[in-house]
């Protein structure tokens, strides 16, 4: 493991960006999956990308790794020697091109997948070895002739794979069939495979999805070890806020394909735009009120309860224009939700009509709502004063609510972490 000798400036941003994305826009027909997303991953840091379902996180990964070609923007990878490698660029005659996935990997960026994609019929060792061997120079003719060089290459790759398996904690399971592993072990195997090609940057797409709490703890530890011991910069997509808050140095929040917030975990937790993206402003208000009233209430039921309340709340909105805007936005949202990849995205969006107010403007959370917000601005401005402090108050609750899928107990934990 050559990389283990390198020193890793854990948590620091002094190294300059290792992965740089500028104004990346990706559209699927009329659906804008990524909208001018800019993002810098600094050398040696762990950057988490969070956002509600359908926010464009995986699309971002696919754009970074050459699976998708974004219509606009450039992506660059800056390896240690300092010369930037273009992953997505504007070529001659405005012809856009991207590096193919295997070349992105060769450059030094590895990834894992949201839905585990292992070579299921192969053994654990073979899974990793395939990735490790992409760096060996053995060709088919040499193999058929049985050249000794190939045997040496193979032995080296196997040893490297064993090292990687030991690093992720799969020692002793080398000869098991990949699909026979437990879910958590499969996640680890995928990480080992991604690391077998000696990457400088590791993209982890929801590594903790579907794992149990103890496996999550192990994963958090593993991610930190990869970062500190091997000096690999990590870009992490994750829904589990506890994991994100415990390992990430910085967090970038995506919503509807736009970056709505970016910064240190504590900053992001208190960002009103983020709270709105996850809960909707009404819900955030409700949650905040609940939190003020009772000490240990579940944020999630509160957020759910907020939905019927919303209907009652609407008459309270003074201006007629705002009501119209809210209705139009609701329609747009419904269309958007239908087009969105995951039905789960509906929950935050359904609550959104109430958020046509200032926060959505400054954050740009709703691209569709922009047209309506123009007419609603006057009314919104009046609402701003009243809105702002509430959102602030609700901030403590918000990231914990995790788009309404977590248990209340964990919310309390996250709150403690957030305040700590």
């Amino acid at each position: 493991m050559s990389t283990s000798t390198e020193t890793a400036p854990a948590g620091s941003t002094v190294g300059g960006p290792v992965l740089h994305a500028q104004d990346v826009t990706l559209r699927f027909g009329g659906l804008t999956s990524l909208d001018h997303v800019s993002l810098d991953l600094y050398r040696g840091e762990i950057l988490a990308v969070i956002g509600p379902n359908g926010a464009g996180k995986t699309s971002l990964f696919n754009s970074l790794t050459g699976v998708y070609l974004p219509q606009e923007g450039v992506i660059e990878f800056v390896p240690d020697n300092g010369t930037a490698i273009s992953l997505v660029k504007n070529g001659a005659f405005n012809r856009r091109s991207n590096r193919k996935p295997h070349l992105v990997n060769r450059a030094g960026i590895s990834r894992t997948f949201q839905n585990i994609r292992l070579f299921n019929a192969l053994t654990v060792l073979e899974n990793v070895q395939i990735a490790a061997e992409t760096r060996s120079s053995s060709g088919p003719v040499g193999v058929m002739l049985g050249l000794p060089r190939n045997r040496r290459n193979e032995r080296a790759a196997r040893q490297h794979s064993r090292d990687m398996l030991e690093f992720v904690g799969l020692r002793g399971k080398e000869n098991a069939i990949a699909s026979s592993l437990s879910y958590g072990d499969q996640r680890r195997l995928e990480i080992a495979r991604a690391m077998a090609s000696d990457p400088k940057v590791l993209l982890l797409d929801e590594p903790a999805a579907g794992t149990n709490p103890s496996e999550k703890l192990g994963l958090a530890e593993l991610i930190q070890r990869i970062n500190t011991e091997l000096g690999i910069s990590i870009l992490l997509i994750e829904h589990d806020m506890r994991l994100v808050m415990s390992v990430a140095h910085r967090i970038t929040v995506l919503n509807f394909g736009k970056v709505i917030a970016s910064g240190r975990p504590s900053e992001v937790q208190q960002n009103p735009a983020v709270i709105e993206a996850y809960l909707g402003s009404e819900a955030a208000e409700e949650a905040a009120a609940e939190a003020e009233a009772a000490v240990a209430t579940d944020a999630v039921p509160a957020a759910r309860d907020a939905e019927p309340v919303e209907a009652d709340a609407e008459p309270e909105i003074e201006s007629e224009a705002e009501v119209d805007a809210a209705e139009a936005a609701a329609e747009a949202d419904a269309a958007e939700a239908a087009a969105a990849e995951e039905p789960a995205a509906e929950e935050p969006t359904a609550e959104e009509p109430a958020s046509t107010e200032p926060a959505s403007e400054q954050s740009g959370a709703e691209a569709q709502a922009e047209a309506q917000t123009a007419s609603a601005t006057e009314a919104a401005e009046t609402a701003e004063a009243a809105e702002e402090p509430d959102a602030e108050a609700g901030s403590e609750q918000s990231p914990a609510a995790e788009s309404g899928q977590t248990a209340g107990s964990r919310d309390r934990d996250t709150n403690e972490e957030g305040s700590a």
């Binding site: 790794t65 295997h102 060769r106 997948f113 299921n120 019929a121 192969l122 061997e133 053995s138 090609s197």
Partner: protein, 477 residues
């Protein structure tokens, strides 16, 4: 709610038990077996229909002593099957397989040297085969050399494409044809002169052994030419494209551009292999098939050794990875297009290799020697034997090429010179064998470990047995 479920199931069970007696599935099984036997009664009947009595065949097959025999036969078979079923199918099967498993578990058999020795014994048996039993007949020697040897070689190549890389190739015999025509051209029998004038001056007059490397190179190029633009396709689409490629090659052969292919007449009188070196002179004689068989064995051994190394190397593993999940393979740094092209080129060149051997044996080729059916048959050999398994493919191709020839039988071989099966019916029987095979043993006779694993997983909904589906992550817009 839990109690109600058990109650419900009890009710269902009671309802079932009160069903009419004829709804018992065993009667459905009896009917099925009876129907199959009635069809068989017609199929195996020597009586032909006549224009004066359209019902003659049915009367003779069903409403006669013959029909009664088949009826009794079907009931007996059904009764045996029912008893078998009642005693526990799996238990009996496990008991029957017990000795086999015991033999497999003998530790001595796992020794590398024992394996090598048994392999050597097999090769020796193959070499001595033409001196044994019915194989002393020239007919069977000819079958061995011209059918078994050639198609085992071809199937080995197709196994690389289909079995290892997971690319469905239905135009595989096109490369075989390219190899055959290359042989004809290099041996000086093509192109025939303009307007078929006998004073043609073919550009080459080479010893046929030189046709091997040239044909291999040419078919490899042909494989790359076909593969480069089409390998972005997957599964069914690739199959259709290769089908088209086969037709293109055949049509070129028929249309005889610049008199290169000799049109529908093809080439005749192609010389055989000659060896004239170091004072040793040997001529492969068309009247004796044995030397061709030995040559085929030699070539097969070389190819098997090379492919065995490929299978257990970086290349083989990478092919498996591409077959299982192309997106994940690419994300792991595998240049997928390069490896798919490699599989195509290796498969195509093996096919060309076999084409040279076949041409030297039959000494005359026409476009009709390479119909689409042969492409599909070779694919069937691979699937029958067990995709991805070298042993399986060799066994499968040998059986499937030998059996039809055996059933047709040589004149006066046995059965008073009457073929066991009407030669016209052979494809039908082959089809039936394949059907039964695919239903009861889809992994093939001797499956490869990886393939068997994939099939088992596909049945449980984990992954695909083939790289036939679109990547779940989608493709670039």
């Amino acid at each position: 709610m839990t109690t109600s479920i058990s109650e419900l199931s009890a009710q269902v069970r009671q309802l079932r038990s009160h069903d009419a007696w004829w709804k018992n599935p065993r009667w459905a099984r009896l009917f099925t077996i009876f129907a199959v036997f009635m069809v068989l009664s017609i199929l195996t009947n020597k009586v032909q229909g006549s224009s004066s009595d359209y019902t003659l065949l049915f009367k003779n097959s069903w409403f006669s002593a013959r029909g009664v025999q088949f009826l009794i036969g079907s009931v007996v078979i059904w009764a045996i099957a029912e008893v078998w079923r009642a005693r526990g199918l799996s238990r009996i099967a496990a008991q029957a397989a017990q000795p086999v498993r015991q033999v497999k578990d003998i530790p001595a058999l796992k020794n590398v040297w024992v394996k090598r020795a048994s392999l050597l014994v097999l090769v020796v048996v193959a070499i001595l085969l033409p001196t044994m039993g019915m194989f002393t007949l020239p007919y069977f020697q000819s079958v061995l050399a011209g059918q078994v040897g050639v198609y085992v070689l071809a199937a080995l190549g197709l196994n690389v494409v289909v079995g290892w890389a997971g690319l469905l190739d239905l135009g595989y015999i096109a490369f075989f044809a390219i190899g055959a025509y290359t042989t004809a051209i290099l041996s000086g029998k093509l192109p025939i002169g303009a307007d078929g004038s006998p004073e043609a001056h073919p550009p080459f007059h080479l010893n046929l052994f030189f046709a091997f490397p040239i044909a291999v190179a040419l078919t490899m190029v042909a494989g790359l030419v076909l593969g480069a633009p089409t390998l972005r396709l997957r599964g069914d689409y690739l199959a259709i494209v290769t089908l088209g490629f086969h037709e293109i090659v055949l049509t070129i052969a028929r249309n005889n551009p610049k008199n290169i292919t000799g049109g529908a007449l093809g080439a005749t009188g192609i010389p055989t292999f000659r060896f004239n070196l170091f004072g040793i002179h040997y001529d492969w004689n068309t009247t004796d098939s044995k030397p061709y068989w030995y040559l085929a064995i030699g070539l097969i051994i070389v190819v098997v050794f090379a492919f065995r190394r490929l299978e257990h190397s970086k290349v083989g593993r990478t092919w498996t990875a591409i077959r299982e999940d192309e997106v994940a393979a690419a994300a792991s740094g595998v240049p997928t297009v390069k490896y798919k092209l490699m599989a195509f080129a290796i498969g195509a060149s093996t096919s060309g290799f076999a084409g040279v051997l076949a041409t030297a044996k039959i000494t005359a080729i026409t476009p009709e020697n390479f119909p689409l059916a042969v492409s599909i048959f070779v694919l069937a050999y691979v699937i029958f034997g067990g995709m991805g398994s070298l042993t399986g493919v060799i066994v499968g191709a040998s059986l499937m090429t030998f059996l039809p020839a055996f059933l047709q039988g040589p004149p006066s071989w046995f059965n008073n010179g009457v073929p066991v099966v009407d030669p016209k019916d052979i494809p039908m029987w082959i089809g039936a064998v394949l059907l039964v095979m695919m239903i009861f043993r889809p992994q093939g006779l001797i499956p490869s470990k990886r393939r068997a694993q994939e099939l088992a997983q596909a049945e449980h909904g984990v992954g695909d047995a083939d790289a036939m589906t679109e990547p779940a992550e989608g493709v670039a817009p």
